[in-house]
Amino acid sequence: MLQSIFRGLSGNRRHRVVACLVAGVLLLPLTAASSATVSEKKEPGRQIADMVTKQRYFWDTVDHSKLKELQQVFTSGEQITDACLSCHTDADQQLKKTFHWTWTDPNSPEKNRRGKAQYSVNNFCLSTNAMHDHHCSECHIGWAGKGKAAAIDCLRCHGQKKFNFEEAFEDYEAFSTSGDEDDREMANEAQSEIQEAAQAVGRPTRRNCGSCHFSGGGGDGVKHGDLDSSMTTPHKSLDVHMGMDGQNFECVRCHTTIRHNVAGRFYATPAASQRESLIENDLSQKIMCESCHSAQPHKVGSKMNDHTDTVSCQTCHIPSVARVLPVQMWWDWSKAGKMKDGKPYEVKGPYDRLTYASTKGDTRWGKNVPPEYYWYSGSLSGPTLKDSIDPTQTIRLAWPVGSRKDKNARIFPFHVHRGQQPYDIERNKLLAPLLSGENGFWTTFDWKDAISRGQKFLDLPFSGKYGFVRTEYVFPSTHMVAPKDQALACAECHTRPKSRLANLTGFYMPGRDRIKVLDLAGWVLLFGSLCGVMLHGLGRFISNGKGRKG
């Protein structure tokens, strides 16, 4: 083909074409190299984040195994706490003021407090019955699930060794009181294991936080969608920040802590009161993406930077949740209590998860679940057990606060858990049955009795008549940040048939929405231009360059 082209050219032209081709071939590697340099150059947001989280220095100056206070014989958890407090004198006073201890949102109205220990209600295990349900209290950071009556279990968050202290204390007591030589040896063994575990302390790890937060709702991955046991040892593809083959962040790297107060959202209280980066304020908390990545994280001139005032980073960078383990999508308490041959039973379904249990009712699970998107200012709202509800509607137990008109609100992704749960037919209020224990529903399968007992713990009335109402509960998706090549493409939202943001109305979004007049004007302009070009070309063709000769 090249030969035929060359044949058609005169000598001088042939030389010029050859010279151009040679120059092109020679310049090709240079062009490729320069484009590689451009692609290797990190976005400003990543450069800043790399600077503020540059190195992870280990600066521990205490070897706890050398402390005499931790070498004594321990027969109870409280003794270990006393040993901790003999050096960390103010730790318990600090901690007892925090949400992790009180399970109460201090910013909620005094007569209708929100929080697990208060009148909040969800559509998982419903309520802790003011912390009287011992099954729920297992996650409280007091010793042995005794709630606020017990001493703080420092090792729940700081223990670096997975260890069952309660079992070990029981073993030690059983062996140490025996006169048998073998038993004494075993008592020593049990005590040395207790001491070893008490001495293994450090900053909280993913395992420490995850022991409660990954199993919220009563099992692995039941609640959040973006938090489950796959985050204990995550791969970078699951979370770019926490991935062990990447930045390997522990939870406390972003959930910065001051006087045991861990940064993060709870109920109506947002995680941060304002959007600011560490560049603006070096003492700012690292709880938001912007803290490290700034408000203009993408390359200069990138259209994506224009989105950050209305679209949260999570919206594009968390394309789906439950990417390794499934998350619960639906819990229908109205189906609980069925028996087979007079006995409670369970049915397993997809993902090897229960789809029915007599104790819990129907449940449904999902994997790789795309989030739902809503305007969100950082605060969630919903009725408590004291608030009246309209049972003809789906009750939004936890729902994002914010709208397009709210300057603090941005579009944010959420995992939404739906289900049916009991409410008082006469009082039109949600109910809090007692679930665990010998008198709980899981043992008696008697709704009326379980509700009466649960309401009593909360000092709330019960008419004796109950029904079931549909409810929804959202969880902001902020973990499981995917690698940038898996971030949402523009067309996921800016498209007409199946936009991810199809439910968000009241504003014009290019690609998704249409204004007929504007569309018509566009087409007229396009065809007009095309016709103009064609007419111009036709004119030139007809005149056959005569004008130039003149």
Binding site: D182, M186, E189
Partner: protein, 130 residues
């Protein structure tokens, strides 16, 4: 004659029941747990296994499966009988650490069985070794 037969049967049942109760009382799951862990701690020190954590957790088998593995142990009446006489080669293929198991007696083995069975997969409190 009939009275004699009834008496003999009664005596037989009384003794067997007592035997079962006695055998049950002897098994100490708590001791079994420490004995089981001790086997692997020593074995790990010696270098045969990579970790001091026992190879098989109680919840890796059902109660019936543990009974099958410890079949001879359950039916053994001699507390001092060496453990090697109560298990076969298949046992050591699964559990390894023959040297440490050899130091155990019939009494130790019944305790280990009680521990594994008490926390089997289909037990009320399934457990993993830590």
């Amino acid at each position: 004659m009939r009275k004699l037969i009834i008496l003999a049967i009664t005596v037989f049942f009384a003794f067997s029941s007592a035997g079962i109760c006695f055998a049950g009382a002897k098994a100490n799951a708590r001791k079994g747990k420490y004995t089981y862990r001790k086997v692997y701690k020593s074995c790990h020190k010696r270098g045969e296994v990579e970790s001091a954590t026992p190879l098989l957790s109680p919840d890796t088998k059902t109660m019936a499966q543990w009974d099958k593995v410890f079949d001879k142990v359950i039916n053994n009446k001699d507390e001092n009988k060496p453990a090697t006489e109560l298990v076969d080669d298949d046992f050591f293929e699964q559990f390894k650490c023959k040297e440490e198991w050899s130091k155990l007696t019939g009494k130790d083995m019944i305790n280990v069985h009680a521990y594994l069975r008490a926390h089997a997969a289909d037990s009320p409190s399934p457990a993993k070794c830590k």
